[in-house]
Subunit: 135 residues, 4 copies
């Protein structure tokens, strides 16, 4: 991945690490902790936290095919399959690499089990300066 | 809304407030701040942050029709329409209130402009004790 | 709408009529008949039939803002709210009109009741000759 | 699969054949012909036709885990990856088999290439007689 790419501040707030981004694939992780939970006294990741990880990994998978240019999220669809009660790992793979948009599939696992699967569409063909960000 | 419902810890981390939840409608807000940004040096909300707000408001809209029982998110679909660079307000409305599942539409505005729109499916018919949470 | 636009052959097979397409809005109809049904002996429209109507109306809403150029469907998300057991009418409205992609909301009613609601992303920024069709 | 299950009339109109449905997996096919096209004079399947095939295969994958009971579509999300210009084959696999809802992934190929990928949520926990159909 591009070590010089600017790191989104929200990664620090949540604890997201992107560990790989190359050739249309990306991988990231998010250690579970009580602050990310949907339920007091339990470590059960809120759906928005899982979405943040999936969006991020999807973004880098698409961006890796565009020289790490900005590829803003157009839409994101999350399917929650099981509660996420452990450290999360997400892997993304581009399934459409178009001149205007890219589409990516992201799986999220926690404790070795798939807890969510996502699809997203990202903009690949923007004019320079167009809606920078949403990484 | 149900003032006694347990508050998800992630609401504190992100800054989400649910201000209304009644009769299949809900409303919430999330003040913008640098820690929520996707871009260093700018206040541009990361897509996952917007998703967390939408998921939360959708959840309470559905749950308000079920005596504030747990109604876990089954799936969530985000459409990002414009960058969110200001305090966010989200409003949700149930469009299907079924015995097994409910469906809800959520709009998110920032600075008076719609920045995202979402649809989600939530479980209404779970057995007691079934996958508690995902508020 | 553009009366000279080529009519997709599948419109004849299913019975789809586009009755309006202008300024980011479109409207279409599909009379119910037994051949469209999911259930023998009943007139209950198959989900794919409802999707075909929603996709078509969404396409024309977006295309109407692009001089009726080809704007292929990137993704389409259907929410089924109630069984469609009567003639269907669909109305679409663009919610994002971008240089690369447009996003549209489509509602489908049957017998005066909303039976489905859809969101779709369509390509607006393709190179000429790029994946023509999917009207 | 259940040979005695009622065949949806729309399968005949479009030409859909379900060739396998067992243990949470299903397979179907749809031969291409001019009547299914989005473009006059070309054989390029309309998005709604691809959606009809994906919805059908997803339905049977879920239903196969429920003794072939009715499992109506709650929502369906299509991602179009490439034009479908040849006979189509779709394969579906359940990724969540819950008491209230099931979730399924469906891939559609034409001429040996993946042309679309879909995700759908289907109702598994309905009361008997609840919204029969949408097969």
């Amino acid at each position: 991945m591009d070590e010089d790419a600017p790191r989104p501040p929200v990664y620090d707030l949540l604890g997201i690490e992107i560990t790989e981004a190359e050739d249309g694939r990306a991988r990231g992780r998010l250690p579970m902790r009580p602050e990310l939970s949907a339920v007091p006294g339990r470590e059960l990741a809120h759906g928005g936290v899982v979405a943040a990880l999936a969006d991020s990994v999807g973004y880098w998978a698409v961006s890796s095919l565009r020289g790490f240019a900005s590829t803003p999220t157009v839409d994101l669809r999350m399917d929650y399959l099981a509660p996420a009660e452990d450290d999360m790992v997400a892997t993304g793979e581009v399934v459409r690499n178009g001149a205007s948009v890219g589409t990516v599939t992201v799986d999220v696992a926690a404790g070795g089990e798939r807890v969510a699967t996502a699809r997203g569409t990202f903009k690949t063909g923007g004019r320079s300066g167009d809606w920078y960000g949403d990484g």
